[in-house]
């Protein structure tokens, strides 16, 4: 559309540089006001922010499909919306065709939007039930002053055919279509203004498997025909593997790994990616994979862990250098530490805790004495403060273990970012894990 921007098609179509999006948790006059009797004035203004997307940088090349995958709450949809500036980024720059979107004002941004479109998850609620399909598809063209009435009508019909619907259905309302067909209408609407870039936010996850395949196939052929670039957001790794050229994995607002599809699926380098890949049920009864390796739950994005955000659940958390560990002892201590933190076992005598977690052989040296202290606090026959509330003693043991071990690990100090050699293909492989230091 606008070739006057001096954009060279060899460059990345879209470039994100440190994009960050925080949400204030509550709005309203008295939101975040807390009563603090110990100070003057006895109120505290506590504006908690949800760090939905935190310092994300990536590039999308023209004509490619970048898959963005992650679990619910990891910030993938927020990132998609921030890119289109449907949400204002808190920080960072977004370059589209070499132009910084953050610098664009209202009218320029509006014009730029004809090059960037979006498809939403729910095909039902993203179509106005009172408009006819033809109007729905023509509306973006009207908003961007494209063509005349006749031309728009012809283009809408042409698009209906392109997305696999009957052009004769131009005058029907959305309710007359099934979910898969409605998603096709969404596709037609997004394509009506001839965009270069489409953000697809879980476009097939509400559809049945057989319909999913139809829509995915249509999206692929449209990409080829119109030279589209997709940012494809999904939680389903199978769909991502099918449609993407490169894949980015998100966890708690950070990109933890980014590589070409084949490389990421065959040679994953981040423990989180591995855990995700191992957890998917494979439609093959002879495949007896491990699953459910990840314990616990995603921490709150209000107060994410320091350093590597995955470290609180990571099965390969790096041992702190301060102590002298064997791999086995560290693994046992790590399991013990997390069990205490989650209180996932019953109070029992010290000897039994030792037998259960350490095979009766505690780590030696300084680390050993810290473990001893913690066991003493929680053991049913321990001396840890009589009279004290039981949950206080557990909390004390948790703090002791976390501060002495987890917080000392390199994973807690530095945010990891490493570029690795790819084993499959020749693309870059980014992994945010200190195992590669």
């Amino acid at each position: 559309m606008d070739e006057d921007s001096g954009y060279d098609s060899d460059d990345a179509l879209l470039e994100l540089d440190g994009v960050t999006k925080y949400f204030g948790q509550e709005s309203g006059l008295l939101a975040g006001l807390e009563f603090e009797p110990n100070q003057f004035p006895p109120v505290n203004i506590n504006r908690e922010t949800v760090k939905a997307v935190d310092d994300v940088s990536l590039e999308i090349q023209p004509g490619e499909t970048l898959g963005l995958v992650g679990e619910s709450g990891c910030g993938k949809s927020t990132l998609g919306r921030t890119i289109l500036r449907l949400l204002e980024p808190t920080d960072g720059d977004i370059y589209f065709k070499g132009e910084n979107l953050a610098d664009l004002g209202g009218e320029e941004l509006r014009r730029m939007r004809s090059d960037m479109q979006m498809i939403f998850q729910d095909p039902q609620s993203s179509l106005d039930p009172r408009m006819k399909v033809g109007q729905i598809i023509e509306e973006p063209m009207r908003a961007h002053d494209m063509l005349d009435d006749e031309g728009r009508r012809a283009r809408a019909k042409e698009l209906l055919e392109k997305v696999g619907l009957d052009p004769r259905h131009y005058n029907r309302h959305p309710h007359a279509f099934s979910g898969g067909q409605r998603q096709r209408i969404n596709l037609a609407r997004a394509l009506s203004v001839d965009p270069d870039f489409v953000v697809c936010d879980e476009p097939v996850s509400a559809l049945d498997v057989s319909i999913q395949a139809q829509v995915l196939n249509t999206m692929e052929s449209l990409q080829e025909e119109f030279g589209l670039t997709y940012l494809f957001i999904a939680h389903d790794l199978s769909v991502i593997r099918h449609i993407s050229d490169r894949v980015a994995v998100m966890y708690l607002g950070h990109i933890v790994e980014l590589a070409e599809k084949e490389e990421l699926f065959e040679n994953p380098q981040h423990p989180y990616t591995r855990a995700l890949l191992d957890s998917i049920p494979v439609p093959d009864p002879r495949e007896n994979g491990v699953r459910g390796i990840l314990e616990g739950e995603v921490p709150s994005p209000v107060d994410p862990p320091s350093g590597c955000r995955f470290r609180t659940r990571c099965p390969r958390l790096i041992a702190p250098d301060a102590y002298d560990w064997s791999d086995e002892k560290w693994a046992q201590t790590r399991a013990f530490m997390r069990a205490v933190k989650r209180r996932s076992f019953e109070p029992m005598p010290a000897a039994r805790i030792e037998a259960e977690f350490f095979d009766g052989d505690r780590p030696g040296g300084e680390a050993g004495s810290i473990v001893d202290e913690a066991i003493d606090l929680i053991a049913s026959d321990g001396g840890g403060g009589d009279g004290d509330d039981e949950s206080d003693r557990w909390a004390a043991a948790t703090d002791l273990l976390l501060e002495s071990f987890a917080e000392q690990s390199v994973c807690a100090h530095e945010r990891p970012a490493y570029d690795l050699e790819s084993e499959h293909g020749d693309g870059d492989h980014f992994a945010a894990c200190h195992l590669h230091r």
């Binding site: 095909p123 498997v209 395949a213 939680h235 389903d236 494979v282 459910g292 209180r343």
Partner: protein, 388 residues
């Protein structure tokens, strides 16, 4: 394993009487569940799998009604009809009354886990309180014992710090934790059979993995049988022993899980398997199934899958196949409802191929959309499996 299965469903028919006509949601399905096994009920939305499982529990609500068939559980009749003296069908005398089903069967013998744990828990009562009440009512324990039992169950299903969390409300639990609570509730009375209706569909993959692990462990410990209702063939491959594939109210294929995947006998199952993208390998071209599932209000004549079937021939329009044993899978019957197998002897081999099948996807989709729009004014192939 005893010769008599735990649950036997025979020729079950459940219909909904709506203003537009009669919806034959479940149309003559038969299957059985043996002790200690996980039986899958697989299909797309609208296939009738949920209605089938709710029929077993007697939870079908108006305008729906079970109109035929027989459900036998541990030798007792949960549902059965006989012909009365005036030729009308009436409920058999040996059928359990709804009172008996409510007090003896539901919860104690057969429990259900639903897809959405938030809707199954009452938001204004504490999680522990709800679990305790359930145990009190169903097992007749006094309150303090029921409370201790409830805490034990919460620990059993992997809720950390169960004593503290006993007093929390459902909204303070994450989706995976809520599903664990429902599993605890289902297990609380040590039922022999649990019907799990898409229990992991709303969960993230890593959480889904945790729940499947938990089910495996618990099943080993208690020997509970499961009916696992799902649309996800990955989950089926992971946990099911035997599988029933449903299409438009009928079971089209029934086989042990390995045979279903490696010796597929029904074109629908085959098409379903070919249409899913795989996590373990890169598939360049997905073979989509053409069209959408027709409405159960006016199912196609003959084989219900024939308008979408790549193998359909002239005979498929006329002959309606009932599932027959088409192969032997290590002593287990492998049933399929497709006339292309010799067991049917319907003249499939001599029958000419149908016009318009096996054309390329693009043009077929257009043709298909026209016919399906008229037949299916408010058709919806999107299920309840929307997730973030």
């Amino acid at each position: 394993m005893s010769s008599e299965p735990l649950l036997r469903v025979e020729n079950l028919k459940t219909q909904f009487f709506t203003e537009e006509g009669t919806v034959r949601a479940v149309d003559g399905i038969s299957f059985e569940v043996r002790e200690g096994e996980i039986v899958g009920l697989v299909g797309e939305s609208g296939a009738g799998k949920s209605v089938a499982s709710m029929s077993i529990m007697g939870l079908v609500e108006s305008p729906g009604e079970i109109v035929g068939g027989e459900i036998t559980y541990k030798g007792e009749t949960l549902f059965g009809l006989e012909e009365g003296p005036d030729g009308e069908l009436r409920e058999r005398d040996d059928m359990l009354s709804s009172e008996e089903i409510r007090t003896r069967i539901r919860g104690n013998e057969i429990a259900v886990i639903f897809q959405d744990p938030m809707e199954s828990l009452n938001p204004v009562f504490t999680v522990g309180g709800q679990l305790r009440e359930f145990i009190e009512l169903n097992r007749g324990l006094p309150e303090d014992e029921a409370r201790a039992e409830a805490i034990d169950m919460l620990r059993e299903v992997g809720i950390p710090d169960p004593e503290e969390r006993y007093d929390e409300y459902p909204h303070q639990f994450s989706g995976g934790m809520r599903q664990r609570v429902l599993i605890a509730m289902a297990l609380a009375c040590e039922p022999s059979l649990i019907i799990a209706d898409e229990p992991t569909t709303a969960l993230d993959v890593t959480v889904e993995g945790q729940i499947l692990d938990l089910v495996d462990d618990l099943q080993e410990k208690y020997g509970t049988s499961f009916i696992w209702v799902t649309h996800d063939l990955g989950v089926v491959a992971e946990i099911c022993d035997r599988v029933n594939v449903m299409y438009l109210g009928e079971i089209v294929e029934k086989a042990p899980v390995d045979d279903l995947f490696y010796d597929t006998k029904h074109p629908y199952t085959n098409a379903l398997l070919n249409s899913i993208p795989r996590p373990d390998r890169t598939v360049t071209e997905l073979e989509a199934i053409e069209g959408v599932m027709p409405e159960a209000i006016s199912p196609p004549s003959g084989c219900r899958f024939h308008p979408r079937c790549p193998d359909a021939r002239e005979v498929c329009k006329r002959a309606h196949p009932d599932a027959k044993v088409v192969a032997d899978a290590d002593g287990e019957p492998h049933e399929a409802a497709c006339v292309k197998h010799d067991a049917f002897d319907a003249g499939y081999d001599q029958s000419p191929p149908l016009e318009g099948t096996a054309v390329d996807t693009g043009s077929a989709a257009v043709e298909e959309s026209e016919s399906e729009l008229t037949a299916n004014p408010a058709g919806d192939d999107s299920g309840g499996e929307t997730r973030e």
